[in-house]
């Protein structure tokens, strides 16, 4: 099993999966940097930031950036499956583990976004109905 090699058709799928991992990592990095700049330098944007918002957003940013890191790692591992020979199964296991960690971080990010959403909803309504 250790010397198992995926076929060229399977390799095409792994290459596509590797690209998709990068596709998700890029907006996650942008989102993390954007919100982190908002949370750390609120005066640059002329907004008033309250502690609860700062804490939630700082945790969201950290998990978004960690998810992006694991996605890039998973992308590299999946691309090694295509490039290297003889250790495809062990690389698949490592890639799956990195993907699992990335998905867990994305989940935490989304759950915290949901919390932030609940925090922001009364404000949203106040803006819409002045």
């Amino acid at each position: 099993m250790n010397s198992f090699e995926f076929s060229s058709v399977d390799n095409v799928h792994f290459k596509a999966l590797s690209q998709k991992c990068n596709l998700l990592a890029f907006p996650l990095i942008l989102l993390g940097i954007y919100h982190l700049s908002h949370a750390v330098f609120p005066s640059l944007y002329g907004n008033q930031i309250y502690p609860s918002y700062f804490i939630v957003m700082a945790i969201v940013d950290i998990f978004a950036l960690i998810a992006a890191y694991f996605l890039i790692c998973a992308s590299k591992t999946y691309s090694y499956i295509v490039k290297t020979q003889g250790s495809d199964i062990s690389l698949l296991i490592i890639g799956n583990e990195q993907m699992r960690l990335a998905l867990n971080c994305v989940c935490i990010t989304l759950f915290l976004f949901s919390v932030r959403f609940v925090l922001a909803t009364p404000l949203w309504n106040a803006i819409a109905q002045p």
Binding site: A16, F26, N47, I49, Y50, S52, M99, C107, L110, L123
Partner: protein, 121 residues
């Protein structure tokens, strides 16, 4: 081809992560329906919200299908490679929709911060 017990454990944990991702995207998508249904400061925000909901729910469904394929790899025998390919394809779809979701969150935040005083207690 049949994966070993250790490899099956790996797929099992990935199935759990996919199920969790399904829940997270579903909850976030459903929460955003409240925004779409309620009053909004602009139509552009409503449009962004609509795209966000569609991408969230599509990602959730793809994660659910990928999870069930990973589960089938563990439970069935002799068909693991074909199931892995299917799971792989569903995971690709899920990641594509997830990237659209994150991009929409980013655009919405930028638009909201640029046009309104965003203050949360």
């Amino acid at each position: 081809m049949e994966f070993s017990a250790i490899q099956n454990e790996n797929f099992k944990s990935l199935r759990k992560a996919s199920s969790l991702a399904f829940l997270a995207f579903l909850i976030f998508g459903l929460l955003n329906i409240i925004t779409l249904a309620g009053p909004s400061p602009s139509y552009f925000l409503k449009f962004l919200c609509l795209v966000l909901i569609v991408s969230c729910l599509a990602a959730a469904m793809a994660f659910k299908k990928a999870g069930s394929n990973f589960s089938s790899i563990v439970t069935t025998e002799n068909n693991d490679l074909a199931l892995l390919t299917l799971a792989n394809q569903q995971l690709q779809k899920a990641l594509t929709w997830a990237s659209v979701t994150v991009l929409m969150i980013l655009i919405r935040s930028a638009y909201f911060h640029a046009n309104f005083d965003f203050v949360v207690k």
